[in-house]
């Protein structure tokens, strides 16, 4: 689909919502919307797409109280604004949208959380990503380094970039809107997504990408949607296996889960954002003892997060139950850079080769 076609479709979808309300009111009905309930209890595994998406539970929001009515009013204003932005070929950030509402009187947002959430509702209602409405996130994109050649259609024209040869040491930064990206060619065997910049630099310095044909993706913590979208597309369209390498603590497992299964907050986008085939490399709780890694005690918050993961459908596998229970017993966590205690080369010469060949990746 061309950029123009995409914009047209987004515009149509938005107007359809408004048209629904128009019809409701014309028929003497109080206008309303229906949305899936967005809680952990209402996400389900979709066998077909192999990702977790919202289940059947829905809630209805009708304009029968001042609060709900104002919510619909705000949505109407947002739809009006987005329709115009699409028509003019402009875009804006979520934060700008929040400030733009300043002039909307009663439809003005009270806080950015509210406008962000409303945009998510629109994504669900239209089955489109917010990028399709020309809304940019503030979130920082991640970086790619490796034997991959891609094409980015920018506002200033089309750029072809090779992610080893045409970039500096910081790699190729993933733009906010990845619908403008096309992968042209690659010479890789797999993609390794890495939680920290330090480990990303270690792999680059040690020439891990060249030695094993790896595309390195620096997640920079919890990955932005654009990064997750890139990972999925590398997996789907380039047929490359994706592995995820994080710290060994509950928060990092959530990074993996959001790459592989999608997040609860954006379960409506899971089919676009999640990479079900993504595999977890480590740090595994068992690695902490196996490799005698320097570790820290779990905090109370850590323990609570692990316990919450035990009830999270995305971690309902034997592997994760075993690892999480093991960690709860040990009461320890380790970071990925803790491998440095065994020498700077250990992670690239020993740990990753062993682990990746166990996993059948190399």
């Amino acid at each position: 689909m061309s950029r123009e076609e995409m914009d047209l479709r987004a515009r149509e979808q938005l107007v359809t919502i408004a048209r629904g309300w128009y019809d409701q009111m014309r028929d003497g009905l109080v206008p309303f919307i229906r949305l899936p309930t967005r809680t952990k209890q209402n996400i389900e595994y979709n066998d077909e797409s192999e990702v977790w998406t919202y289940g059947e539970r829905e809630s209805t929001r009708a304009a029968t109280s001042e609060k709900s009515a104002v919510h619909l009013l705000k949505m109407a204003y947002v739809i009006g604004f987005l329709k115009q932005q699409l028509a003019e070929g402009r875009s804006s950030t979520l934060r700008e949208l929040y400030y733009i509402s300043e002039g909307w009187k009663r439809a003005k947002f009270g806080a950015q959380d509210e406008s962000n959430r409303l945009i998510e509702d629109l994504e669900i209602l239209t089955d489109l990503q917010r990028e399709a409405f020309h809304l940019r996130p503030e979130e920082d994109g991640a970086a790619i380094f490796g034997p991959l050649k891609l094409r980015e259609s920018t506002q200033r024209g089309v750029r072809e970039i090779h992610c080893q040869e045409d970039v500096g040491e910081a790699g190729y930064p993933i733009p906010n809107n990845v619908d403008t990206l096309d992968f042209i060619d690659h010479d890789a065997k797999f993609v390794i997504a890495i939680e920290t910049g330090g480990m990303y630099a270690r792999l680059m310095e040690n020439g891990f990408d060249e030695e094993y044909g790896a595309i390195l993706v620096n997640l920079k913590g919890q990955p932005a949607r654009s990064t997750r979208r890139v990972l999925r597309r590398l997996n789907e369209t380039m047929d490359l296996p994706v592995v995820v390498f994080t710290d060994g603590d509950p928060w990092s497992y959530r990074i993996y889960a959001s790459v592989a299964y999608g997040s609860i907050k954006s379960a409506h986008m899971s089919e676009r954002l999640a990479t079900p085939q993504a595999q977890f490399v480590g740090v595994q709780p068992s690695d902490i003892t196996d490799y005698n890694l320097p570790s820290d005690k779990l905090t109370e918050q850590d323990v609570a997060a692990l316990k919450s993961e035990l009830t999270d459908p995305r971690f309902a596998t034997d592997y994760w139950r075993e690892q999480i229970n093991l960690q709860l017993e040990m009461k320890l966590k380790s970071e990925q850079q803790a491998f440095a205690s065994r020498g700077l080369d250990f992670v690239t010469k020993e740990y990753l080769p062993t682990r990746l060949s166990e996993m059948g990746i190399i």
Binding site: W21, R26, G28, E66, A69, A76, I79
Partner: protein, 600 residues
């Protein structure tokens, strides 16, 4: 070892006056500041008690005047029945002398200590004798005394006794002078204000160093004076039973009926049978073992509760409300008087009230007013069972926030009326933790909590209805406008929605480009007559239709239209103007109308 002999020589009896002189803090005379409040309290308590006994409406005058460095003269005068001349010295000049100690009934003072203790404190600090004037009736002369207490013997020491003319036909006046300060003036006024709250039949006039404050009565009905009753069989302890048995000449069956409340012939027979005793045996002759059996039987047999309506004098729900409302502006108030019940054989009644809103501070802990036998408790709030009970109730369940005490604009008043109020100390500041009393307090507070919750819910429901009306009548039209614009279709009329949902008479005012329009839709199924009031700065000279009536004052115009509107129809008026001010529909029931000002 002859030491015991030496020691024996030093052993002697101690007079009560000596005891309390040395332990004056036990009676609330621990500081000069506090002494003044304690004295006023004791004198006013006595005055109220006396007026109650005489069934007169109390008219009490309290004066405090500085008479020297750190020396104040305290005067309390009442219009009570007076005290007969020969008893005056004992009432004021002997500790542990009084009429109410042995009576089982509610009264403020009881021990016969308070006012004599004030006299004792005065003679200790200034040496000035107490002045007492009392007159028992128009036909009797007034007696004037100057008196002190002989500490070693706890006997009165009358320095002057004379008959004088007095302008009161009956009543008592006492003047006491002691070392004190007026640092607690605010607290003193608080004491008097709360005394007025729980004694709504009393007028109290206070002249504090020249500053006059009057607490007017709100009821002209003298509360009935509680009458003394016999002890209740469930509330007597072994020692007491043994004592009254020893002085009785009666046989067992008569003894039980004549010496106890609520014991009739059948009940007595049941008790005697259960104790396995003979009915006609003289109780005087019973062995200790037999008495113990009798006591056990007395406590086992079911007996109605003591006749509390006779021995207790609760304030009553109505007067509590009036008393509180007079002193404290509130949005909501409920009061409750619980049925009487019993602890250790003492009857008691819990009364309580809860107030909300008004000028109570919106933040911080609520206010707690504690009373015992119609006397406000000012000190040691933290140590009092009432406070404990208030904290114990789960106020969150009743819509209040809570941090120990309930928080927000709430006032809680609790009154414990009993034939024997269990204070934690003789200074009568706090009520001791008695499970039976605590249970009753918690129950009454929960009852009031539910009432408060109902009020708060109703308030919230009203808010919710307003909320819905705003959504339907004001916001949906905006949504419709925006949506029509987006879908590029003709503007929508949302009045069918209004009608369907509201099914009421809906008045809407809206101003745009200098034109004010007021629509009234009749969405009900019947014809409705209404009057529309529109108060604003616009004179509406060009109104169409013209108002039926216009009233102008202070630059504002109150415009009135009368109309009869068929079901399903609309009435409208428009005029040029700024659209400020307000609209109101009259002549229509509250739940039949919705008024929305779209300019707000």
């Amino acid at each position: 070892m002859v030491l015991a002999e030496d020691l024996a020589k030093q052993q002697r009896s101690i007079s009560v006056a000596e005891f309390f002189e040395k332990n004056k803090h036990l009676l609330g005379f621990d500081s000069p500041t506090r002494g003044i409040i304690t004295t006023v309290k004791e004198a006013v308590d006595n005055a109220l008690d006396a007026c109650e006994e005489a069934e007169v409406l109390p008219d009490i005058f309290v004066a405090i005047r500085k008479v020297g460095t750190d020396v104040y003269r305290i005067t309390v005068e009442d219009n009570g029945p007076g005290i007969v001349g020969k008893n005056v010295p004992y009432v004021f000049g002997k500790l542990l002398y009084g009429s109410r100690f042995h009576q089982i009934r509610q009264s403020r003072g009881q021990q016969g200590i308070g006012i004599s203790a004030a006299v004792l404190y005065a003679q200790l600090t200034t040496g000035v004798p107490a002045l007492v004037i009392s007159r028992t009736g128009a036909n009797a002369p007034a007696h004037r005394f100057e008196l002190m207490i002989k500490t070693e013997t706890n006997e009165p020491d009358v320095l002057v006794h004379e008959e004088i003319d007095w302008d009161r036909t009956h009543g008592t006046r006492i003047e006491i002078e002691f070392r004190s300060t007026l640092a607690a003036k605010k607290r003193l006024l608080e004491y008097l204000r709360y005394t007025a709250v729980v004694n709504p039949h009393a007028r109290i006039t206070a002249d504090i160093d020249g500053e006059l404050t009057v607490f007017e009565r709100v009821s002209s009905e003298v509360p009935p004076c509680p009458k003394a009753i016999l002890p209740h069989p469930h509330g007597i302890e072994f020692g007491a039973l043994k004592r009254i048995a020893a002085v009785s000449a009666e046989p067992l069956d008569e003894f039980l009926v004549n010496s106890f409340s609520r014991v009739g012939k059948k009940t007595a027979e049941e008790m005697i049978a259960l104790a396995n005793l003979k009915p006609r045996r003289k109780v005087k002759g019973l062995e200790a073992e037999e008495l113990k059996r009798l006591l056990a039987a007395m406590q086992q047999v079911k007996v109605p509760a003591p006749p509390a309506q006779q021995c207790l004098s609760p304030i009553g729900e109505d007067l509590i409300r009036k008393g509180l409302e007079k002193e404290i502006p509130l949005d909501f108030i409920k009061s409750r008087t619980r049925p009487s019940t019993v602890f250790s054989g003492h009857s008691f009644i819990i009364e309580a009230a809860i107030g909300y809103g008004g000028k109570l501070p919106a933040e911080g802990s609520g206010q707690i007013l504690r009373f015992a036998n119609r006397v406000p408790l000012l000190y040691q709030q933290g140590a009092c069972a009432i406070t404990g009970c208030v904290s114990q109730v789960n106020w969150k369940a009743y819509g209040l926030s809570q941090a120990g005490l309930p928080a927000g604009p709430v006032l809680i008043m609790v009154h414990v009326a009993s034939t024997n109020v269990p204070f934690t100390s003789e200074s009568k500041d706090a009520i001791a933790s008695i499970p039976e009393i605590e249970r009753e307090i918690v129950l009454v507070l929960q009852e009031l909590g539910r009432e408060l919750k109902t009020y708060l819910n109703r308030r919230d429901k009203k808010k919710q209805q307003d909320d819905r009306a705003r959504a339907i009548c004001s916001i949906i039209p905006e949504i419709a406008a925006k949506v029509s614009d987006i879908v590029e279709l003709p503007p929508l009329d949302t009045s069918p929605i209004e009608g369907k949902i509201m099914r009421k008479l809906v008045a809407k005012k809206r101003t745009s480009d200098g034109t004010v329009s007021i629509d009234v839709h009749n969405y009900t199924a019947r014809e409705i007559a209404f009057t529309l009031y529109n108060l604003s700065r616009d004179d509406a000279a060009d109104a169409e239709p013209k108002p039926d009536f216009v009233d102008a004052f202070d630059g504002e115009y109150n415009k009135v239209w009368k109309c009869l509107l068929a079901p399903g129809t609309v009435w409208q008026v428009t005029y040029s103007g700024s659209g400020d001010g307000s609209i109101d529909l009259r002549g229509v029931e509250e739940n039949q109308k919705v008024v929305v000002d779209l300019d707000v």
